[in-house]
Symmetry: C2
Subunit: 563 residues, 2 copies
């Protein structure tokens, strides 16, 4: 095969970026090669705003032929949370044809070595980046995120997470040299001397099981970590969020082919409604790695049953924010209001339980009672979302009917401090848009506990009255231990309380944001610097991204001979 | 607590060694800080030969009081494979007292940080090293290894593997900085700025389940990897091989206390006969990491049932050597003879199946028929072990009655090419000493397949006649895939065959030694350079030592706040 993209060319183009990524994961200072602003696109080969929209529109109602072997049917019934039918048909695979085909190219991909694999992955990410505007619409119309969030979280932030995975994968593979000379002295006799070769080898085919809400952001780390470590990758998207990952697979296949590799190293496994293909795939012997984002029930099932595979899961947790005291009451309220509102709380990182002492809190505006804090927070959310245009831009749409049903049921769980409001979207009249609901609960009441100790995914938060700061920390510990947590937040100006919260997070293994009052929110993490999840509590068995996320996706085979 | 060993002192003493270890795992060149020669000991505080023997003798018939909390009884019925009763009594623990006590010191150990933990571990290893002569007798009289092997494999080589684990653990923890300043530009507005702290946190209590044959060598990697990453470590030795690990625990507790840490961070869990404490411990919620060496059945059970823990297993495999052709027939025979004889084949790395084309092989001494190769190998083993003193020094003793029974049963599996010979040990008349048995089998016969496709642990090898080199490679692949392999060897002077064997090992993920004819043997691996196992086939789910062996023993908790 003649490669249109030479190794030399790819290394020349992407090695400097890889080196910057490697430096970023060492220092964990701010870095991103992917611009966040929509206007930064449209030149140097990237699609501009209008072009991206046109490209997306052109996809609607078409058949996305990826040229995959073993395609026995065409499937796809995506309906946008904004109310439009995407009408895109995707290949449905005969696994007994597709899986063997995916293995055919693995030897060449393995032999290419870690650096070539890394730069090929970076070329894939570059081309995805160039199509960020197109992907933004695809993410928006599958996840229900508002455009700006779909653009940023589904575009540059997802690409950052993918590149971070490539950087970790690369550095992990080159920790062991390709070759070593080993000479062991033997006193007066000749030394023993061996020549050793070390080759990173893939585990096999990796399966990425995508989610509905963040198809690219949650899909890219596993996809790129597995591909960069030499594995073939089969992408099984959520049936409601196929398009962003199908486009990703399309780009990956293009780049692989142009670089002289077998495009079947990356493939899509779209499914018929109700087919439940993830369960079938997860226990196929060819599948040796699984990355999954979704429900705790299926994540637990994968961990227990996909025994032939390394399984990386991000499941559900219950996220807590302790509100104990603050030097910036206004900043706290507006920061929290934004966190609760962003994407209608449909993030695995959105705070659910706000623990507030029932005797109130100290603030720079004087003492505030529990009721005042809850009312002020409700007012703050109300203010933030008072303008419908702004509300639509922040909330996006409710991703599916289950979330809507859960929101409606939650009004019955306790006293409603802030009712959820229906908002109309003039551009997409069928979109279901809702503001966050805040319900008051009592931490000491067993009835209330069954509510706040379960994940209520969607725009629902509980203002839980607790006896004291110590009680809050104890409940925080118990929540992390029993339910897991992707994020923890705390507001306190008391050093002892701060220490206690920190110690709880260190012992229960959860990521803590302290006293955020500005433009960074507890539910956001930045690639190359923040870890997403800890991998040490029930919410997720892996963190994005660390050494453990990549180190077991490949093994090193040593061949030694006498020198 | 006042520390007798200051952090400053420990760093000054051990940091240079740590740095050398870090360099060694990067280059994988030869390195060891632990002398292999018995005469290298006896000065600078280390026990010499006679002192070591005296120290060991002084332990016999005593109670080894480790000062552990919750000791409710004294247990121990070790009988040396050399025929003497050790008579050492060990603490039996009330787990409901011991386990909570082990957690008490974890916070201080966590807060000490990666470097202090590493140098404390190196101090433990230094003191073990100083007592190498004493440990040698303890290993000899529990494993049945001959003295010289017990000295080297149980002493410096085990210490090397422990230090290698410390080095990997250290470097993994310091990949992420303790602190980071993150500043994200916001165009014309003020940048977003966060201060981030990153803390490696332990998973909890780690359980090391020791084995009978290599209590220190196989026990140290897990023990030191877990301790160095901040975990407490509970050591559950094999009931027949308690002493070497009990001494290890004793040293670790001493050093921890002197360095100002809680000695209960390391404890021993000795058991009553038939108590089966490993199974109980393995599913305790406090146990979050398990390192195990032993049978496939129990290893598989652990992987399936100890779901609350990270489980690292080394189980059984079937090791193959392909004998296809050679440029050094004599060297090959003597190298193989040594490999089969060392410690009576009671190594997880000893070759079991020698695949030899039924039409014979090409050698530098002309063509040799299958029968000639087998007869010459039998002669070579016979010659190596012809002298009883030398045979005793090489074979050691049969570790337990199961191995003896298996050896006796194996004579009925096929035509015996080399019968196993009983050797008397003048110093230990009750020792059971046997030379290796070689049985001829036919690779094409289904009846024979049931023999060569099972692990027959002990001094038993099968000379399996195969149709061709290609047939040998195919059988090698099938054996690794179905049974796993800790080692693979091959002798070939044909480049195509060499390529085919290499490719089989790369694809099936097994460590390959090619054409060894000198003083390095397929069953030996050197820490800092060779990987022991691959972690990618059924024989073991982990390799000693790589990033994956340490990366998931801790997690990193991030605390971020506005700058």
């Amino acid at each position: 095969m003649t490669a249109e993209l030479s190794a030399h060319q790819l290394i020349a183009q992407h090695r400097p970026t890889l080196d910057q990524a490697l430096e970023a994961i060492r220092t964990r200072a701010y870095w991103s090669p992917h611009p966040e602003h929509p206007k930064a696109y449209g030149e140097n080969g990237s699609l501009g705003m209008a072009e991206g929209k046109d490209a997306f529109d052109a996809l609607l109602g078409t058949r996305l032929d990826l040229g995959q072997p073993g395609t026995d049917d065409w499937v796809g019934e995506e309906k946008s949370p904004y109310g439009i039918d995407l009408g895109v048909a995707y290949p449905h695979a005969d696994l007994d044809v597709l899986l063997p085909a995916m293995r055919a190219g693995q030897r060449a991909w393995r032999d290419a070595g870690a650096e070539i694999r890394a730069v090929v992955c970076l070329e894939i990410l570059k081309r995805i980046s160039d199509r960020t505007h197109e992907f933004a619409h695809a993410v928006m119309h599958t996840s229900g995120q508002a455009f700006m969030m779909a653009f940023q979280a589904g575009g540059p932030h997802a690409q950052d997470r993918g590149m971070e995975a490539v950087a970790y994968a690369y550095v992990e593979q080159v920790r062991t040299p390709d070759n070593a000379e080993w000479t062991k002295p033997q006193g007066k006799r000749d030394p023993l001397a061996l020549t050793k070769q070390f080759t990173p080898v893939p585990r096999g085919i990796a399966l990425v099981i995508g989610c509905n809400t963040f198809p690219t952001w949650n899909g890219y780390p596993g996809l790129f970590a597995s591909l960069a470590t030499g594995n073939a990758v089969l992408v099984k998207p959520h049936p409601r969020a196929v398009l962003p990952l199908a486009l990703t697979v399309q780009v990956a296949r293009e780049v692989l082919a142009e670089a002289g590799f077998d495009p079947n190293l990356v493939a899509l496994a779209a499914e018929r409604p109700g087919e439940g293909i993830a369960k079938t795939l997860a226990v196929r012997p060819e599948i040796r790695i699984i990355d999954y984002t979704g429900s705790t029930a299926f994540g637990d099932w994968l961990e227990a049953n996909a025994r032939q595979a390394q399984v990386y899961t991000e499941k559900a947790g219950v996220n807590t924010v302790i509100v104990e005291s603050t030097d910036d009451y206004k900043g706290m309220l507006s920061n929290l209001a934004f966190s609760l509102s962003l994407y209608s709380g449909q993030m695995c990182t959105t705070p659910q339980n706000l623990l507030i002492p029932r005797d109130g809190i100290r603030t720079d505006e004087g003492p505030k009672s529990y009721d005042e804090v809850v009312a002020d927070l409700a007012k703050s959310v109300g203010g933030l979302l008072g303008d419908d245009a702004r509300a639509n831009a922040l909330l996006g749409a409710i991703v599916n009917p289950d979330v809507k049903a859960r929101l409606e049921a939650a009004t019955g769980l306790g006293e409603v401090a802030l009712p959820s409001r229906e908002i109309s979207n003039p551009e997409f009249p069928n979109a279901v848009v809702r503001t966050p609901l805040i319900v008051k609960l009592d931490g000491a009441k067993p009835d209330d506990e069954s509510a706040y100790m379960s994940e209520c995914f969607g725009p629902v938060s509980f203002a839980v009255a607790v006896d004291s700061a110590a009680d809050a920390v104890e409940l925080l510990r118990r929540t992390i231990r029993d339910k897991g947590a992707m994020t923890v937040g705390a507001y306190t100006s008391d050093e002892e309380v701060e220490q206690a919260v920190q110690e709880a997070c260190l012992e229960e293994c959860a990521q803590l944001s302290l006293n955020l009052t500005g433009g960074v929110y507890v539910n956001q993490t930045a690639a190359f610097s923040d870890f997403h999840g800890s991998g040490g509590n029930a919410a997720a068995n892996a963190a994005l991204c660390d050494g453990a996320f990549v180190a077991n996706r490949f093994r090193v085979v040593e061949v030694r001979r006498e020198a």
